[in-house]
Amino acid sequence: MKKHLSLFLLLLVVFSNNFWANENQLSIFNKANLHYENEEYQEAKEIYLSLLEEQFISDDLHFNLGNAYFKNNQIANAILHYEKSLKINPGNKDAAYNLKLANQKTVDKIEAIPELFIYRWWKSIYNLLSADQWAKLSITLFLLCTFPFLLFLFIDKIKVRKASFFSACTTVCLAFVCWFFAFQQKKYLLSKEHAVILEPSVNIISAPSEGSSQLFVLHEGTKVKLLDETGYWFKVSLPNGNEGWLKKQTIEAI
C-alpha cells in the first residue's frame, strides 16, 4: 500500500512539473510585459507572438498580446486574441471587457438574433470555468465525496447515515456534471467554430468562386461563424443570420 502511494506521489510531481512552463519562458513573458509597461508595444507584441509560436496556450498570453495589438491600433488582431483568451478561459473578465471596447471600434454593427434563453443559460454556466478548471473541480468533488461515503459506511447512527448518503450522492452527481462540462469545454477549445476578419474590407460572395455575385461587405474585426470550407474558401455566417463565402486568407480562426 505504501509503495503504491509513493509511486502515485511521484507521478503527481512529474505531471505538475510538466504542466507549468519552466522559469525561462516565464522570464521571456515578463520581459514582454516590461516592454508593454514602457509603452513599447511593437516589441512586446513580437515577443508575445514568439511565445505563441512555441505552442503555448495561456489566456494571459493572449490577453496581453491583444492589449499590445490594441495599443498598436490593430483592432482586428486585438479582437482575435481577446477571443482566443476568452476561449481558453471564459472567466477572464478583463478580456471580456477589453473585447467589448475593441468591438466598439469596428465598422460593422451587426444585430444578433437572440439565442434561446435555455441555450444561453446553459452556455453561461459551462462558460464560467475553463476545461481544466472544471476538471479540477470535478476531481475535488470526487475526493470530497469519499468523506460522506466513509461516514455512511462506518457510522451506525441512522441520522448520520441518511445525511451522509444524500450528500455523497449529490457530490458524485455534481462531480460527473463538472466532468461533462470539462469535456464540453475542451471540445470547444479544440474546435474552430469562429473566426475574425483581419482584412480591412472583405467581399462576401454567394458561391466559392471568383466572380460570384457579391452579397455584402464585412470589415476588419467582425466575428463570423465558420460553417463549411472548400479549397481556398470558407462559408461563414453572421449573428444576424446572413451567410456567404469568403477567401480563407482574409480571416483567422479563433
Binding site: 502515485f8 507521478l11 503527481l12 505531471f15 505538475s16 510538466n18 504542466f19 507549468w20 512552463a21 519562458q25 516565464l26 513573458f29 515578463n30 510585459n33 508593454y36 511565445l51 505552442q55 503555448f56 496556450i57 495561456s58 494571459d60 498570453l61 490577453f63 496581453n64 492589449n67 499590445a68 490594441f70 495599443k71 478583463d94 471587457y97 477589453n98 467589448k100 471596447l101 475593441a102 466598439q104 476545461a131 481544466d132 472544471w134 476538471a135 479540477k136 470535478s138 476531481i139 470526487f142 475526493l143 465525496c145 469519499t146 461515503f149 466513509l150 459506511l153 462506518f154 466532468w179 470539462a182 469535456f183 469545454q185 475542451k186
Partner: protein
C-alpha cells in the same frame, strides 16, 4: 406616253420640294487670315431654327458667339424667315484648317453645311506688299508692346507652412494707354485655399515710376492664399487680353499727319509663374487635438446659463479671436455629457480679410439640451494652434463650465433616455491593463483534463470508496458473529439447560436441579444482554431490565424467580416448590423472548 407623264410628275414634285426646302449654309468672312486676326463665321438657315450643332473651332479662339439673329420677310404674300448664327473667331496658329460641317435639325430632318476651309498664315508671310509693310510695323509694334504692357504677380513670401497665409497680387503695367482688358485665363491656384481680397470688378488704376519711366498700373486682383499641402505649389499665370492705343506711324491723310493718329491693338499679356515652397508643420510636440489653426489666437468658452431646468436649451459659445487662418477653422468637437442632446454647431464669422491676413473673431454656437437633472461639468475645451512667431504649438484651455440641471416636468425625458446606455458607459475609457502576476503558460498538449493525472485522481477517489466498502463489510461480519449469534443462541441454550433441569426434577435430584435452573437463567441473560456471566448478578439484571420499557411486571417475576433459585441452591432445606420454580423459569424465558433487547 406613260414615260413622259412620269417625267412631268417628277418635275412637279421636285418643284414643290424645292419650294419647301430648307437651305442651310455657312459663310466665312476671310479665307486667308493672319495669326491674331479675326474672322466671322456665319451659319444661315431659312427657317425659324431648330437644334443647331456648331462645328468645333479647334485652334481658334472663340471671341464671341454664338450670336443669333432672326429676320422675317413678307414678299408677295409669302413669308420667309432667316435665322443666322455667327461666331467671331481669332486665329491663334498657323496652318490650313477646315471647320467640319455644322448640323441643324429642322422638323425632324437633319441638314448639314459644307465644310469651310481656312488658311492661317504667319503675320509676315502675306503676299501683298502693303500688307507686309503693315505687318512689319505691327511686328515691331508687337515687340514693343510686350515691353510696354505686362502683368506681374507678386507674393509676400516664397516659403510658408501649411495653412500660413500667402498674399498674391496681380498688377498690369502699361506704358500705353489702356482701352480695355479682358480676362482670358484665371490662375488655377491648385493646392491653395483662396479668398479674394479684391477682385476684378474693382480694378484700380494708378501711376508708378519704374526705371525712370511712368507706367499706368492696374491692380487686377489681390488674393489671400492658404497652402493646403506641403511641397512646391504653383501660382499659375494670369492671362489677359489687353487692348491698347498705339500712335500710328503710317499716316493716311493730312489731318493725321498733323495731329498723329492712333490705332488700337490687342495683345495677350501673361503674368509670371510663381512657385511657393510649402513646409509641413513640425511633428514634434504636436498636440493630439491640433486641427490646423495657424496664427495667434485667443479662445473663450462661455455658456449663457449655468442652471437650468431639464429640457431647457443652453447656448454654449466658443469664441476664437486673433490673427491667422480663421476662415479654415472648423467647429471643434466638444464632449458633452451623454445626457445632453447636442445640435450641430452654428458658426459665425466676424473677421476682415486684408493683405495682412484674416483678423477678427469666429464664433461657434452649440445648442444643447440637458435631458436629465443633475450637476454636470463640461470638459474644459482645449484649443491648439501653431504659433508662427515662436514656431511652436500652443494650447489654450478654457475654463470648465458647470451646469446645474434641476428636474423638469415628468414624462418629457422618456424618449431620450433609451439611448444605448451600454455604449455610452464605455465611451472614452481605456482598455484594462495586461496581466502581470500569477501568469500561467501551459503547453498546448498539457491539458489537465484528459491527462493521466486527471484519470488517476478520479481512480483514486473511486479506489478509496471501494476499499472503504470492503473494509466496512468485513467489520460488520465480525460484529454480527459475537453479538448476533449469541443472542440467537440464547433461547436454544436456555431450553437445553431447562430440559436437563427437568430431567433432574424428575429424578428428584434437587441440588443438581437448582444448579441447572440458575445456570439456565443466568446463562440466558448473559447471552441476551451480551455480557459475560462473571459480570452478571441479580442487581445487574434488574438494572439492565429497567432500561427496557413496559417490563416492570416481568422484572418483578424475574426477580422473585432468581431469588427463589438462589435460595434453593444455597439453602436446600427450604420448602421451595421445585415444579413451580421450573414452570416460572420457562415462563420468564418465553416472556423474555418476546422482549426486544
Amino acid at each position: 406616253m406613260k414615260k413622259t407623264l412620269l417625267v412631268i410628275l417628277c418635275a412637279i414634285q421636285t418643284c414643290f420640294s424645292f419650294a419647301a426646302a430648307v437651305s442651310f449654309s455657312a459663310k466665312i468672312s476671310h479665307n486667308t487670315v493672319e495669326v491674331g486676326q479675326r474672322i466671322q463665321v456665319t451659319f444661315t438657315v431659312n427657317s425659324s431654327g431648330g437644334s443647331f450643332t456648331p462645328p468645333s473651332f479647334q485652334k481658334f479662339r472663340v471671341l464671341s458667339g454664338p450670336n443669333q439673329s432672326n429676320s422675317m420677310q413678307y414678299v408677295n404674300g409669302k413669308t420667309s424667315r432667316t435665322t443666322s448664327i455667327s461666331y467671331v473667331l481669332q486665329a491663334t496658329q498657323k496652318g490650313s484648317f477646315e471647320f467640319g460641317p455644322a448640323t441643324i435639325k429642322v422638323e425632324g430632318k437633319t441638314y448639314k453645311t459644307k465644310p469651310l476651309k481656312i488658311k492661317v498664315v504667319d503675320a509676315s508671310s502675306t503676299s501683298s506688299n502693303a500688307q507686309r509693310n503693315k505687318q512689319n510695323q505691327r511686328k515691331s509694334d508687337g515687340q514693343r508692346l510686350e515691353d510696354y504692357v505686362y502683368i506681374k504677380t507678386t507674393v509676400d513670401k516664397r516659403e510658408a507652412y501649411i495653412g500660413e497665409k500667402v498674399t498674391a497680387s496681380f498688377k498690369l503695367y502699361s506704358k500705353l494707354s489702356l482701352t480695355g482688358i479682358n480676362i482670358e485665363a484665371l490662375p488655377a491656384l491648385n493646392g491653395f485655399w483662396s479668398q479674394d481680397i479684391r477682385s476684378y470688378d474693382q480694378i484700380q488704376l494708378s501711376r508708378e515710376q519704374i526705371n525712370g519711366e511712368i507706367y499706368n498700373v492696374a491692380e487686377l486682383q489681390q488674393v489671400l492664399l492658404y497652402p493646403q499641402r506641403s511641397g512646391e505649389l504653383v501660382i499659375d499665370p494670369l492671362e489677359m487680353n489687353v487692348t491698347v492705343q498705339v500712335k500710328s506711324r503710317r499716316t493716311r491723310s493730312v489731318f493725321e499727319q498733323m495731329f498723329g493718329s492712333y490705332e488700337t491693338k490687342e495683345l495677350i499679356a501673361k503674368s509670371n509663374l510663381i512657385k511657393i515652397k510649402v513646409k509641413p508643420l513640425p511633428k514634434k510636440n504636436k498636440p493630439e487635438d491640433f486641427s490646423g489653426a495657424i496664427g495667434s489666437f485667443n479662445m473663450k468658452m462661455t455658456s449663457n446659463k449655468d442652471s437650468v431646468v431639464a429640457n431647457e436649451a443652453i447656448d454654449v459659445k466658443i469664441e476664437i479671436s486673433g490673427k491667422g487662418n480663421l476662415p479654415l477653422i472648423g467647429a471643434p468637437d466638444l464632449n458633452f455629457p451623454s445626457d445632453f442632446e447636442v445640435y450641430d454647431p452654428e458658426s459665425k464669422d466676424n473677421f476682415q480679410i486684408s493683405l495682412a491676413g484674416a483678423q477678427g473673431k469666429k464664433n461657434f454656437n452649440y445648442l444643447v439640451i440637458p435631458r436629465h437633472s443633475g450637476k454636470f461639468k463640461l470638459d474644459p475645451f482645449h484649443f491648439s494652434y501653431f504659433d508662427l512667431k515662436s514656431k511652436t504649438y500652443k494650447t489654450i484651455t478654457a475654463k470648465p463650465i458647470e451646469i446645474n440641471v434641476s428636474k423638469g416636468e415628468e414624462g418629457e425625458n422618456v424618449a431620450y433616455s433609451s439611448s444605448r446606455k451600454e455604449e455610452v458607459e464605455l465611451l472614452n475609457t481605456d482598455i484594462r491593463y495586461i496581466h502581470i502576476n500569477n501568469l500561467m503558460l501551459a503547453s498546448t498538449n498539457d491539458f489537465f483534463y484528459g491527462s493521466p493525472l486527471f484519470y488517476s485522481l478520479i481512480g483514486l477517489a473511486f479506489l478509496i470508496m471501494i476499499a472503504a466498502y470492503f473494509i466496512s463489510k468485513k467489520l460488520k461480519i465480525k460484529n454480527s458473529d459475537t453479538v448476533g449469534l449469541r443472542k440467537s443462541k440464547a433461547n436454544k441454550l436456555a431450553k437445553k439447560r431447562l430440559a436437563k433441569a427437568k430431567n433432574y426434577l424428575d429424578k428428584d435430584e434437587s441440588a443438581l436441579f437448582h444448579e441447572e435452573i440458575s445456570a439456565a437463567l443466568y446463562g440466558y441473560f448473559a447471552d441476551k444482554f451480551n455480557i459475560s456471566i462473571a459480570d452478571l448478578s441479580q442487581e445487574k439484571i434488574s438494572e439492565l431490565l429497567k432500561k427496557i420499557p413496559n417490563t416492570t411486571e416481568v422484572q418483578l417475576k424475574i426477580k422473585s424467580v432468581l431469588e427463589e433459585a438462589e435460595m434453593a441452591r444455597f439453602a436446600p432445606t427450604s420448602s421451595i416448590d421445585n415444579v413451580s420454580l421450573y414452570n416460572k423459569s420457562v415462563e420468564i424465558i418465553s416472556i423474555m423472548e418476546d422482549v426486544n433487547v
